[in-house]
């Protein structure tokens, strides 16, 4: 109930916010409403959730209602409550959008089915995306705790807060695991909106939308609490608004673009690089406009402030907590380490392990026979290589009037984003399809009737191919579905989180929540238990004596380590104290010790 009510209020607030911005086009209003709603989730989660007991369904819903009421009052007061009329060409566009959704409905119903019957089974969601939201939802507060998992400790969590919103409202991870699904439709609207802005006919824009939503990575990520598809869709939305600003110079476009950028900055460490890419359309306008409608200062403020407000929190928090805003990443400039961290950031690794453009080329040409969420190759579908890229080249060759603004304000930001996001995983750069498919639409519209028909038939074969290879849930073997139906948590055994079975056994044996000490744990989420009941503790290995005393004092039931844990500082200490650490289980991937605190323990 709370989830439905709060989502309705969020969307209502987003719609009112878009009206207050006086956005004329329905496509602008839809995208702005979505971006503003998402920003509201982040800001409310922080403003209310940081207080003890604030991260609960009632306070968050009341907060959402309060924002809605304020925006409603502002809309009435300013006379902006009335929906602006549709423009003539919007109606066929809306029909095209509905047709895409209707035609692909079986896919989304299949995704919904999987989301409802299967628990999260993919690597990153078990590793970090769901961990902190589950603990916050359990404890009713957004807070920062000691953990051996550096990504849980430090990675920016704007989009994880969306998953957290559904988890706190419902007490399950079901809707979080379906979190990618709304972003499929956000991406669809962005594709259609850009086609509309290019002045293309709706009947051909339909094909662009269809080819985008059936992109294999898009389908795979619809059921996952990953943030790659959301980032792709958000970058498309931000770029759309910034392109609009580049062509019109309206602050109404700049603000939602900046809000969307802010969401991305606070969601992934590549966000700041994308903000730089987003500067290009702004600079284009400021340098080329004959009569500027905004000053340099205004442009800087309208672009910079929302980004700082919505995306800056995690960097400030990391700076205070770890002395490194990018924790656990390392920031080096020209060989000089500015902020030290455990990992090199993904961005700007042009040559490691290989040039990102080489990797991207392989991803375009190759296909994994067994495509998975994290496949190195495959995922864009043939529509990118065979249709969208050649169409973009033809567009730039033929459209002499528009090519410079398109190249600088649309394609150059895309180029930069690909340059800083190595295509190590195609999921990082799936926005390529979103950005380039509108040019396939242009090509189709530009063609004579019969060649166009042939291209449309080829598009149907692309869609069929993509749906076939992307619809299986490869991480779950078909014969595991009935197991998951009968014992839901058992489905973790078919994914990388096989330790879920063991934690369930230990919980059953103890008959109560457990306290677990972990070290360098990657698949953290399953250890929380099916109802997030277990406590995960991290005892920092200072020196052997202190560490051992702290372990005993912690009241932990078990110490839980993953394969390769021998490199940990505390590994020899564990082995030197069998009276405290009794080995009870190993299967080659995990090592579990029962902790005997003795007289000195709790």
């Amino acid at each position: 109930m709370y989830l439905g009510l709060s989502l309705a209020l969020l969307w209502g607030s987003g719609v009112l916010g878009a009206r207050l911005l006086q956005l004329r086009s329905i496509w602008d209003r839809m995208l702005a409403a979505a971006a503003l709603s998402l920003a509201e989730v982040v800001l409310l989660s922080l403003a209310i959730g940081l207080w003890s007991g604030g991260y609960r369904p009632l306070p968050l819903t009341v907060g959402t209602a309060a924002v809605f009421v304020v925006l409603l009052a502002a809309s009435i007061r300013t006379g902006r409550i009335v929906t602006p009329p549709l423009e003539p060409e919007d109606r066929p566009y809306l029909k095209a959008m509905l047709l895409v959704i209707l035609l692909t409905l079986p896919i989304w119903l299949w995704i919904l089915f999987n989301g409802l019957v299967l628990p999260p089974v993919y690597w990153d969601e078990l590793y970090y995306h769901l961990v902190a939201p589950a603990i916050w939802a359990r404890e009713g507060q957004v807070h920062f705790f000691a953990t051996s998992n550096p990504f849980v400790a430090g990675y920016p969590a704007n989009l994880d807060m969306l998953w957290g919103w559904t988890m706190v409202m419902t007490g399950t991870d079901v809707w979080a695991d379906l979190g990618g699904l709304p972003f499929v439709f956000m991406g669809l609207v962005a594709v259609l909106a850009f086609c509309r802005r290019l002045g293309l006919q709706a009947r051909y824009a339909f094909w662009g939308g269809l080819l985008f939503v059936t992109t294999p990575v898009v389908i795979w990520h619809a059921k996952a609490s990953y943030i790659d598809l959301p980032m792709a869709a958000l970058f498309g939305v931000a770029a759309y608004f910034l392109y609009s600003f580049a062509t019109e110079g309206s602050r109404r476009s700049l603000l939602p673009g900046a809000v969307t950028m802010g969401l991305m900055v606070g969601a992934k460490y590549s966000g700041p690089y994308l903000v730089v890419a987003g500067l290009l359309p702004i600079l284009y306008y400021m340098w080329t406009a004959l009569i500027r409608r905004v000053s340099w200062v205004q442009a800087a403020l309208w672009y910079g402030l929302p980004i700082l407000l919505i995306g800056g929190f995690w960097y400030g928090k990391n700076l205070l907590q770890f002395g490194n805003p990018l924790h656990p990443m390392r920031l080096s400039v020209a060989g000089v380490t500015i902020f030290d961290g455990r990992y090199a950031p993904d961005a700007f690794t042009f040559t490691k392990p290989e040039n990102s453009w080489v990797t991207l080329g392989k991803a375009l040409l190759d296909t994994d026979p067994y495509p998975l969420m994290d496949s190195f190759y495959s995922g864009f579908g043939p529509q990118l290589l065979l249709l969208a890229i050649p169409a973009t080249v033809l567009f730039l060759m033929k459209e002499k009037r528009r090519r410079w603004v398109i190249a600088i304000a649309w394609l150059l930001p895309l180029f930069l984003s690909v340059a800083v996001l190595p295509a190590r995983y195609p999921r990082y750069v799936v926005h390529l399809n979103l950005f380039l498919l509108p040019f396939a639409v242009w090509l189709m519209e530009d063609m004579a009737k019969w060649p166009r028909r042939i291209v449309q038939v080829i598009c149907i074969s692309f869609v069929g191919y993509c749906v076939v290879i992307a619809s299986p849930i490869y991480s779950v073997k078909p014969n595991a579905y009935p197991v998951s139906v009968n014992t839901i948590w058992a489905a973790h055994r078919v994914g990388p989180g096989s330790q879920a079975a063991k934690i369930q056994q230990l919980n059953d044996e103890a008959g109560r929540p457990l306290r677990l000490i972990t070290g360098s744990l990657r698949l953290t989420y399953p250890l929380l238990g099916e109802r997030w009941q277990n406590d995960l503790l991290y005892v920092e290995p200072t020196d052997e004596e202190t560490w051992l005393a702290n372990v005993k004092r912690s009241g932990a039931d078990y110490a839980w380590y993953e394969a390769g844990w021998d490199v940990l500082v505390e590994a020899p200490w564990v082995k030197r104290h069998p009276e405290v650490f009794e080995p009870v289980f190993t299967d080659g991937t995990i090592q579990i010790y029962r902790i005997h605190a003795g007289e000195g323990g709790s």
């Binding site: 628990p119 079901v174 495509p371 191919y465 290879i469 009968n486």
Partner: protein, 204 residues
């Protein structure tokens, strides 16, 4: 020929080359195999892991719990404790995958005996083994072999005087027989929608 025709022709050729390439054919074959299995594969109720794969069925034959115990690797896998904690009115199916004898402890053997089994598995490294029993009964149904063993017991089969509530189709393959464990009560993955709906409601 006009530009449009050239574009259409080149696109046709490129699409043909794309789809004819082995990686794409493999991807399609893999996907279609997955879907075929999804439609046809009977429900395997076991976790399919090395060691003793255990399914606990309730009095109506519905799966209550499924768990694997790696008695190849561990003498204290938890199997004995698991069995001793079971109530007396459940059915238990034990199926070996790969090997369950290497580290099988005396307590584990007692657990098997509690379900109506024998000590036949002791020392039989890499053998296939099936036991259908209930806690506390005298004699369950037991199969053991160096080759794979299969059992198909119709509903109503008497096990120490208790009729089986559902048909059980079971297969065990030890190390040299292919290492697999299978238990089906007859339903297929694409069968009744009701269990799926029940799970969806429970989870959401």
């Amino acid at each position: 020929m006009s530009r449009d025709r050239w574009v259409a022709l080149l696109l046709c050729l490129a699409a043909l080359a794309f789809f004819a390439a082995p990686p794409r054919r493999n991807a399609v074959t893999t996907a279609l195999t997955w879907w075929r299995d999804f439609g046809r594969t009977p429900s395997n109720l076991l976790p399919m892991q090395r060691g003793l794969n255990v399914a606990v069925l309730d009095a109506d034959g519905r799966l209550h719990k499924a768990q694997a115990f790696d008695t190849y690797w561990q003498a204290d896998s938890g199997f004995a404790e698991f069995i001793s904690a079971l109530p007396s009115d459940v059915w238990v199916v034990v199926v070996v995958q790969d090997d369950a004898a290497t580290s099988l402890s005396a307590a584990d053997l007692e657990g098997l005996q509690r379900l109506g089994g024998t000590t036949a598995l002791s020392g039989r490294i890499g053998w296939s083994y099936i036991l259908v029993g209930r806690p506390g009964i005298e004699a369950g149904l037991e199969w053991i072999s160096q080759k794979a063993v299969e059992a198909d017991q119709p509903a109503g089969t008497l096990v120490s005087g208790h009729p089986l509530p559902v048909r059980l189709r079971i297969r065990s393959a030890g190390y040299s027989a292919g290492a697999s464990a299978w238990l089906s009560t007859g339903a297929t993955a694409g069968g009744s929608l009701l269990p799926w709906v029940r799970v969806a409601l429970r989870r959401s």
